[in-house]
């Protein structure tokens, strides 16, 4: 049991030191440029965080389609929606704690209820933001976005996949939320790794337990699976990048074939990706589930890796959760 050929991961994925460490936000910037080249109707609006969200990369190439909004997240969303009503596809870039954190109502009313091509880039999501502390570590955004009718939610796992997600979101009709992180994380997928909105990718086969992750923590899931293999537990690892729409077929198959599920995300365990998996499985194929994520608390200052470890969001915590769930498994 190991990585299926279809996943087309970097053959050296096991050797973390050999992988490039690139923040997923870089993939966003590259994706914007690619999308902007393909479609001259794409605009990017930034709320005073142009460089750090990597909207700068788009601004450098298409300054005439970049609009600086200043620190005004509510009008960031609504001005963008107004532009979208004239036929544009408009990305709004800020930190996730401000957008959608501060402008949820505008995203709801002017983005979703009008079903316009409003694309929300939530940068610096999760506790791996690091030293900035809890105010800037957004952990509630997945819940906030996935509850909205018409909204699609993508949480890509590395810089390459973030680029693909950004390009795909730019082509889709209607509002889309794409979430990414500040700090570098291993680039373990390749250009050839399949990406499709509404599809989860099986990155490792196994039938003892399914580890369903999203974002850079999918790499932690792979590391945990390697450890578990040594203990004789073969874990299936699923990259659940498309939280909404979710690939129900792949998730239900994992529950049926593995009999237990561990979810992991760098967000509140409540109402996030793991919550969505629980909703699905409770109604279709109930199996024991352990949700790894922030347990109803905020983050705090620290180094990214230190924080991920402190809040139980790395491979050892997954191994622990799997050991626990194996006892619950019928």
């Amino acid at each position: 049991m190991t990585v299926p050929k279809t996943a087309k991961l970097n053959p050296a994925w096991r050797k973390k030191e050999s992988l490039k460490q690139i923040p997923t936000r870089n993939g966003f910037g590259e994706g914007l440029v690619e999308a902007g080249k393909a479609d001259k109707n794409i605009y990017v609006l930034s709320a005073d965080l142009t460089e750090s969200t990597r909207a700068q990369m788009f601004k450098d190439v298409f300054p005439e389609r970049f609009v600086q909004m200043g620190v005004s997240e509510q009008s960031l969303a609504a001005v963008a929606a107004g532009m979208a009503l004239t036929g544009k596809t408009v990305w709004i870039a800020s930190y996730a704690c401000f957008s959608p954190g501060r402008n949820w109502e505008q995203i709801r009313t002017t983005g979703c209820l009008q079903r316009v091509n409003l694309k929300i880039a939530g940068a610096h999501a999760g506790v791996s933001v690091g030293p900035d502390g809890a105010t800037h570590q957004m952990t509630e955004d997945i819940a906030l976005m996935r509850v909205l009718p018409e909204m699609k939610v993508l949480v890509p796992c590395d810089a390459i996949e973030t680029r693909k997600a950004t390009v795909a979101a730019s082509k889709m009709k209607g509002p889309v939320y794409v979430r990414f992180a500040r700090s570098g994380s291993p680039v373990f997928t390749t250009e050839k790794t399949p990406f499709e909105v509404g599809k989860a990718q099986v990155f490792r086969t196994g039938n003892d337990v399914a580890i369903i992750g999203c974002g850079p923590l999918v790499y932690e899931a792979l590391m945990a699976a390697e450890e578990l293999s040594k203990l004789g537990i073969e874990a299936r690892v699923i990259n659940n990048v498309s939280i909404k729409p979710m690939d129900e077929k792949t998730i239900i198959a994992a529950a049926r074939e593995c009999g237990a599920v561990v979810t992991i995300e760098e967000a509140q365990a409540a109402a996030g990706m793991g919550g969505a998996v629980c909703e699905l499985l409770a109604e279709t194929y109930p199996v024991p589930v352990e949700r790894i994520g922030m347990q109803d608390r905020f983050g705090e200052s620290g180094e990214p890796r230190e924080l991920l470890e402190a809040f139980g969001l790395t491979a050892p915590a997954i191994v622990k959760a799997v050991k626990k769930i194996m006892k619950r498994k019928a």
Binding site: Q74, S75, A78, V79, G82, L85, K88, E105, T109, T110
Partner: protein, 301 residues
């Protein structure tokens, strides 16, 4: 120079016909509100003259081709006064007047607050206060950038100026000198909980907008000629956006509703009974409109 489309000259004859039209629209408005059994009365009545002037004189639009790409855009930010827009649009030929009876009913495109997807000619979905002005600014930004011939108008209530997003949008519109954008503020001084200056004072409103790089025009919002003149003027100003502060009387046209915030959020048939019992409120209001508030004695005069 930016492309500017002219507003036709307003002749005396046309003015008279607009005034009559506004009266008929008020009557339809009250009937639809009473049928709906909920909704706002005072605000919509106060905007009848402005909506009539917009749809029958100022806007370059085509009810038969509502999404014509070069149409002027009219956004209604204070969505709660939607019935007056619906009534005016029905008169203008966007949909049959018989549909006005479906206001707020299940399956109707005349939603309690305007919904773009239900009727794209509404240009935007509104209700949560403050969201219209930034959307109008976003549209105008694209229109200006692309040299489009259309103008963007956005009607806002005075109470909604209390929403911070309004001033974010004002900064944006001022920064980009959106000459193709005109905001129209329904300065009727009431909001749900009382008078604006008690709830959260807005004055000095002119100074506030001027500080945000707007050209400010203050008019009597029931004087159609003044309003049309202000719209014409706003087209001649191309170094900054324009805000027309239209002083209106909430409930205008129906004496017992005028300037009474208790009539802000209720339809005839559900209003305060200090003058008329609920079952008589609609008929009394219509009688007043038909006799022009006692200026003429009988309805046939």
């Amino acid at each position: 120079m930016p492309h500017v489309r002219d507003i036709p000259t307003l002749t005396e004859k046309k003015l008279l016909s607009l005034e009559k039209k506004a009266n008929l629209i008020r009557q339809d408005l009250l009937q639809m509100l009473e049928t709906a059994g909920s909704g706002h009365s005072a605000g919509p009545l106060g905007l009848a003259d402005i909506f009539t002037a917009l749809y029958f004189h100022v806007l370059d639009h085509d009810p038969k081709k509502p999404m014509w790409k070069d149409r002027d855009r009219l956004l209604l930010s204070c969505g709660h006064v939607a019935p007056i827009r619906y009534a005016t649009m029905a008169h203008a030929g966007y949909f049959p007047k018989s549909e006005l009876k479906t206001l707020r009913k299940f399956g109707s495109k005349l939603q309690g607050h305007p919904e773009y997807l239900m009727m794209p000619a509404l240009e935007s979905t509104s209700g949560p206060l403050g969201d219209g002005s930034p959307q109008s600014a976003g549209m105008a930004y694209i229109g200006k950038k692309e040299g489009a011939p259309w103008h963007v108008y956005c009607i806002m209530s005075d109470g909604e100026l209390e929403a911070g997003i309004t001033w974010e949008a004002a900064m944006f519109a001022g920064k980009h000198a959106l000459h193709n954008l005109t905001w129209i503020i329904d300065r009727n001084n009431i909001q749900i909980d009382g008078y604006t200056e008690d709830i959260m004072p807005l004055e000095p409103l002119r100074d506030k907008f001027e500080a945000f790089n707007f050209e400010v025009v203050e008019i009597d919002g029931h004087n159609i000629r003044e309003f049309v003149d202000a719209c014409e003027y706003s087209k001649s100003v191309w170094e900054r956006p324009v805000v027309i502060i239209a002083h209106t009387i909430p409930g205008r046209g129906v004496d017992f509703m005028e300037f009474d915030f208790k009539w802000h959020g209720v339809p005839p048939g559900s209003g305060p009974e200090d003058k008329y019992k609920k079952p008589n409120q609609l008929n009394e209001a219509l009688k007043e409109l038909r006799t022009l508030g006692g200026k003429i004695e009988s309805e046939s005069e």
